[in-house]
Amino acid sequence: MEDIQIVAFRLANEEYGVNILNVQEIIRPTLVTRVPKAPNYLTGVINLRGNVVPVVNLRKRFGINKEKNNDNNTRIIILNVSDLKVGIIVDSVTEVQQITKEDIEEPNLIEFLDNKYVQAVAKHDNRLIIILYLQEILELGSENTVKTANSKE
């Protein structure tokens, strides 16, 4: 992995990050239309200036049981992953952070951390930020990143 910039956000008690190149924009919560019979982690769709964009509930995706109502800090991060626009609901957006490659640990180097949604863990200011593997979260197939991971070994 190289130096990256991430958008860091909070969800439940953890801090997560996504590569800033995948972030299109961050918006306040808006009305979400439920889509019946959709996978349960897909909350529904929103109207983003005339575009219909699906929204993922990360709590449900990560199996966090505790639900939380939207408050003043709740945001929807609109991501652009493999030409696909999708929103994720987060508790709050903390900051944009530069992470140097020395601070990044690949998950397979960390014992007992075996989670397909985690691409890496970044150490920063004594915090640990979980960098998410968006392709896997959105079930877009995993070829690309697996290859990069292997090539690093």
Binding site: L31, T33, P36, K37, N47, G50, V52, V53, E139
Partner: protein, 655 residues
């Protein structure tokens, strides 16, 4: 100069000319005495040759050159067009199409054309080649270099009161790609008349085997000034020695009989060979973008109307109405631009039917009706395959062998009618054959055998339902699997494809007399009229095209038959579906005020129970995207006037 700039043009035009070739060949096969088509295909082959040579596609040049030679002989009646010859010519066209396809895909594959070339050579009488004038080394200032054939052409032209010109074109010596200039000259000349001959020959010119000057013999209805103007539009060349030619006596056709004349002759009107299409080629993506923008405009228009209605600002009234009108007009125009005549799809069928019926030893006449009917571009792109399938079925299963047909007292040649027409907001395409029809007993047997239905189910079915079993997955009646059809992936694919286009397909059948498939498609896919309904707190849109009617009932009218809720509507039993239960939308109907939306899916009618009817609205269909695709009952989403996203019901997959 960069050749790739011309690549798109080359591909488009070659495709067009290949289509001409195909059509022309079919025509002369039917009417060998008609001179029109042979000239047309000759010209098409010639144009392809010229373009391919310029672009450096040698194989295409070679094939078309040989084709041209053969066609000349046919045109001059030195050779009678036999089936064998037309087969070879068709083979050439196929190979050319294949080559073009390779070019488009950027593959540098060489196709083996030696077989075709040998065959072409066999038919072409080698003696004839000497007749086609060899290159005259010196350009002398007389008309002597014309051979007999070219003289006849000139005599013909003169009979039609056309002007005959001879002129030299001087290509400037610092021109980098002379052949391109030549090509451009030929191209613009062909636009206004006919080139009889060039010295050196066009082949040599294309290969740049000339110095800086070449001579052209040219027939046109245009006057001198016009020609001068057109030639001078091309840079790096100049026109010299423009002479008008006339015969004193057409009977006295010796090569020296020509006299020169500087006078300009009158314009004639009976020369109508040049067709000018005032069209622009536009990338389909641009049109899609335009359509999206119009879609957004429609969304915002609806919002504006809603704001206006709730706030009632009187002064806004006029503007809102204006915007409404303009948006509607704009939408119609953009929609029209996207409309393409179905001809594009139909055109490939005569050839396909010919080949197929020949292969199967059947005689089939294909009649095409309503070729000019227009459909949205996206529908056109998708409808080809289902139609091919239906036609193949008709030829393979429908039309009987000639002997059987005459035995039955039918015309030996079967007829397949392909009809397209517009009906209101839909387009109807009919594929009808006068073959043996579908045997209901065979359907029963097959569907039992394939496990499509059980015996018990079959007993309860009426004739129509049995007939519709042919659309079930895994059903195919052909007892032997042929190359053509009968691989078990048949009509169900046709049906699902058409349903994916929001259309429907019906079948009518008369055993022994033929089958008729009717496909009904919406004119356009992007913007539709829909009825908004409320389920609990959620709003859904039901496409108006699917709705037969709406009705309000009370609770006590709902009856139960074997656990299925039904109601009686004008004496007919109508099964009911509570949408809010299917979609888990919550909210229950008031018992004294239940709304039922009667929707149609093929032959079936069903009543959708909803909480509330909101009203009719124009909606723009937006896809839900990859993550949410394939949810049964949901066709997409639409953004409503208040900015909320509403889901569009897909009646086809709902039940």
């Amino acid at each position: 100069m960069n050749k790739s700039e011309y690549m798109d043009l080359f591909i488009e035009e070659t495709r067009e000319h290949l289509q001409f070739l195909n059509e022309g060949l079919l025509q002369i096969e039917k009417k060998p005495d008609d001179d029109g088509p042979i000239n047309e295909i000759f010209r098409a082959a010639h144009t392809i040759k010229g373009m391919a040579a310029t672009m450096g596609f040698e194989q295409i040049t070679e094939i078309t050159h040989k084709m041209e030679n053969l066609l000349v002989k046919i045109r001059e009646k030195d050779l009678v067009l036999s089936t064998a010859i037309s087969d070879v010519l068709f083979g050439c066209v196929d190979t050319l199409e294949q080559m073009l396809e390779n070019i488009i895909q950027g593959q540098k594959k060489e196709i083996d054309i030696s077989y075709l070339i040998t065959q072409l050579n066999n038919f072409e009488n080698p003696v004839h080649i000497s007749k086609i004038a060899t290159i005259n080394e010196s350009i002398n200032n007389s008309w002597n270099e014309l051979n007999e054939y070219e003289h006849t052409l000139i005599v013909e032209a003169q009979k039609q009161n056309l002007n005959i010109y001879r002129f030299s074109i001087n290509v400037s010596s610092d021109c980098v790609m002379k052949s391109v200039r030549v090509f451009m000259v030929f191209k613009s000349l062909e636009g206004i008349g006919e080139i009889i001959k060039s010295v050196p020959s066009s082949q040599d010119l294309e290969d740049e085997k000339f110095d800086n000057e070449f001579t052209v013999y040219f027939v046109s209805s245009k006057d001198k000034e016009n020609i001068r103007k057109i030639i001078n539009q091309i840079s790096e060349i100049s026109l010299e020695n423009l002479e008008v030619y006339s015969y004193e006596n057409t009977e006295n056709t010796e090569k020296t009989a020509g006299g020169l004349e500087q006078e300009e002759s009158n314009e004639t009107t009976n020369y109508v060979k040049t067709k000018i299409h005032q069209t622009v080629r536009v990338d389909i993506n641009k049109l899609d973008n335009l359509m999206n923008l119009v879609g957004e405009l429609v969304i915002n228009k609806t919002r504006l109307e809603q704001i206006f209605r709730t706030n009632d600002v009187a002064s806004l009234n006029e503007t809102v109405e204006q915007i409404d009108r303009i948006t509607t007009d704009l939408q119609n125009v953009v929609m029209n631009v996207r409309m393409v005549p179905i001809e594009q799809v139909f055109n490939r069928f005569p050839r396909m039917v010919r080949d197929l019926s020949k292969e199967l030893g059947k005689e089939v006449n294909l009649s095409l009706e309503g070729k000019e009917t227009e459909l949205d571009r996206t529908v056109i792109d998708e409808i080809g395959d289902p139609l091919v399938h239906l036609l193949r079925n008709a030829i393979d299963h429908g039309i009987e062998n000639p002997e059987i047909r005459s035995g039955k007292g039918k015309n030996k040649a079967g007829t397949i009618r392909l009809i397209a027409r517009q009906e209101g907001n839909s387009v109807v395409i009919i594929v009808q054959d006068d073959g043996q029809g579908i045997s209901l007993n065979k359907i029963k047997e097959k569907s039992l055998e394939k496990g499509v239905v059980t015996n018990k189910e079959l007993e309860q079915m009426d004739q129509n339902s049995i007939l519709n079993l042919i659309f079930s997955p895994g059903f195919s009646t052909a007892s032997t699997i042929t190359d053509v059809s009968g691989r078990g992936v048949g009509l169900d694919v046709v049906k699902s494809k058409i349903q994916a286009l929001s259309g429907n397909v019906y079948v009518e059948n008369k055993e022994g007399e033929g089958t008729k498939f009717t496909i009904k498609l919406p004119l356009t896919l992007a913007i539709i009229q829909a009825l908004l309904v409320k389920l609990g707190t959620e709003i859904y849109a039901v496409p108006l095209a699917n709705i037969d009617e709406t009705t309000g009932i009370t609770d006590d009218l709902i009856k139960n038959i074997q656990g299925q809720e039904v109601m009686v509507l004008r004496g007919k039993v109508l099964p009911l579906v509570r949408l809010s239960e299917i979609f888990e939308a919550g909210g229950s109907e008031k018992p004294d005020e239940i709304y039922v939306v009667v929707v149609r899916k093929g032959e079936k009618q069903i009543g959708l129970v909803v909480n509330e009817l909101i009203g009719q609205q124009e909606i723009v269909i937006t896809s839900l995207g990859k993550l949410l695709s394939g949810i049964p009952g949901i066709a997409g989403a639409a953004i409503l006037g208040d900015g909320k996203v509403s889901l569009i019901l897909d009646v086809g997959t709902l039940f």
